[in-house]
Symmetry: C2
Subunit: 262 residues, 2 copies
């Protein structure tokens, strides 16, 4: 399949892959970029499901999307609708899928339940807010303090966030006010590590799950022993690349917009 | 039920309870001690399953076993065989039960599988070694270095330990030799916290589970983010007191010696 790339983002994991600190490394010479959208220009005679004009995204990691054109086997591509914004299509295969799977696979959440996440303004974080909102799940979103905080809060609230708090606020008694109107979270999504994670964990319900999918602080996850013993919190990890290896193509949950969310 | 105490141990959790650092605190004035064995002296007219001469252990935490005699409701006592050594009976309700449940409830272990544990010479650790040995599970036992290390190693090997290593050895390439003869552990049991835990975690199989049941190092559990994301390790906690609350009396797994082990 001959593909013309239309757009491709730069994700932190792409950089880690180039630095050699990621768990998968492409054989050299390699093209960077694991996500993006392209338009099919022409197809070989044995290509069944794709035709010129179709939009495609990578079916797996390591496709090398930072290029203008490429020829790929059909099995490495997934067809997506071509009537969605190009930037949405270009950022569809990693972050929204990660958000969707983390909301679906670790705790059985019902409308009215709540989740808490840090790095809430990341690509995954924004997808979590939107998917949760569409599913009736309340979100508590943790971001770093910054000069233009009110703007960021406004933007995340417009996406559907229920509460936006800074990491400093996580430690304050005012957090109790939030839990007057919504239940304590059953699920915490961690993309940071270090102190941020420890503080977030304090608000998790007993027997709740924290899923780690990133470590932007470059610090380990630190958990007080008492959280394990007396509150029975469960810690897991998620990596969309591994999920893809473990599941058949087509299960990603990206066949939206017709599929029910959770 | 009027009971004469025969023997009662001092466990770290008893001390924590007196210090006020434990998750459960008895109303004052209180008698210390959560474990022990007593002999029934006399019973009230509505006591159905106990008679004078029976041996009993506490059915729940907080009985206050550090006393010579006491009168307790029948539901707070469990009958045990009176033909086992008194020191075994006195230490039956906390540590061996914790060991048994941790081996049974988190991973499905088959003969030939392996587990790794730190604080291997603790009460729980010794019970883990014996239950695992009786079930065909291989054990890798981590202990702190000490002047009389060879004696300790010999004692744990005599109990059924397959491998005994110091915390320093956990970091050394010689660990590879162990995994020539036995598989990497699917289950890690952590009673320490801090660095000991991080090092032990490195040897866990992908998708394996580490269960924390104590924190003797008084340091948090520290986990590299990569262990969650790339190796999918799962972290849980265990507390026998909570397990008892969640389950009916009689399920403890202490109806040995007739019950199969796992």
């Amino acid at each position: 399949v001959h593909v013309k790339m239309l757009a491709a983002p730069i994700n932190p994991a792409d950089i880690n892959m180039i630095q050699g600190t990621y768990a998968i490394l492409s054989p050299l010479p390699a093209v960077g970029g694991n996500e993006g959208v392209g338009e099919v220009l022409e197809v070989g005679s044995r290509v069944a499901a794709l035709k010129p004009g179709d939009w495609v995204i990578p079916a797996t990691s390591g496709l090398g999307t930072w290029r203008t054109q490429g020829v790929f086997p059909e099995r490495m591509l997934l067809k997506v609708p071509s009537d969605i914004p190009v930037l949405c299509a270009a950022t569809l295969s990693v972050n929204p899928c990660t958000a969707y799977r983390m909301l679906a696979d670790f705790e059985t959440l019902a409308p009215g339940d709540s989740i808490i996440q840090n790095a809430a303004n990341s690509g995954v974080g924004q997808a979590v807010i939107q998917i949760a909102k569409a599913s009736g799940i309340k979100t508590i979103n943790v971001v770093r303090d910054r000069p233009d905080l009110p703007k960021l809060v406004e933007r995340l609230m417009a996406l559907g966030a229920d509460h936006v708090v800074t990491e400093e606020m996580l430690r304050k008694p005012e957090m109790k006010d939030i839990f007057k109107s919504i239940p304590k979270p059953r699920l915490a999504l961690n993309c940071v590590g270090g102190k941020s994670t420890t503080e977030m964990l304090r608000h998790l319900q007993p027997k709740g799950t924290m899923v780690t999918y990133g470590g932007m602080a470059k610090q380990p996850v630190m958990v007080p022993v008492s959280a394990f013993i007396f509150r029975d919190v469960r810690l897991r990890g998620f990596w969309i690349t591994q999920w893809r290896k473990d599941h058949e193509q087509g299960e990603l949950g990206v066949s939206f917009p017709t599929q029910p969310i959770l």
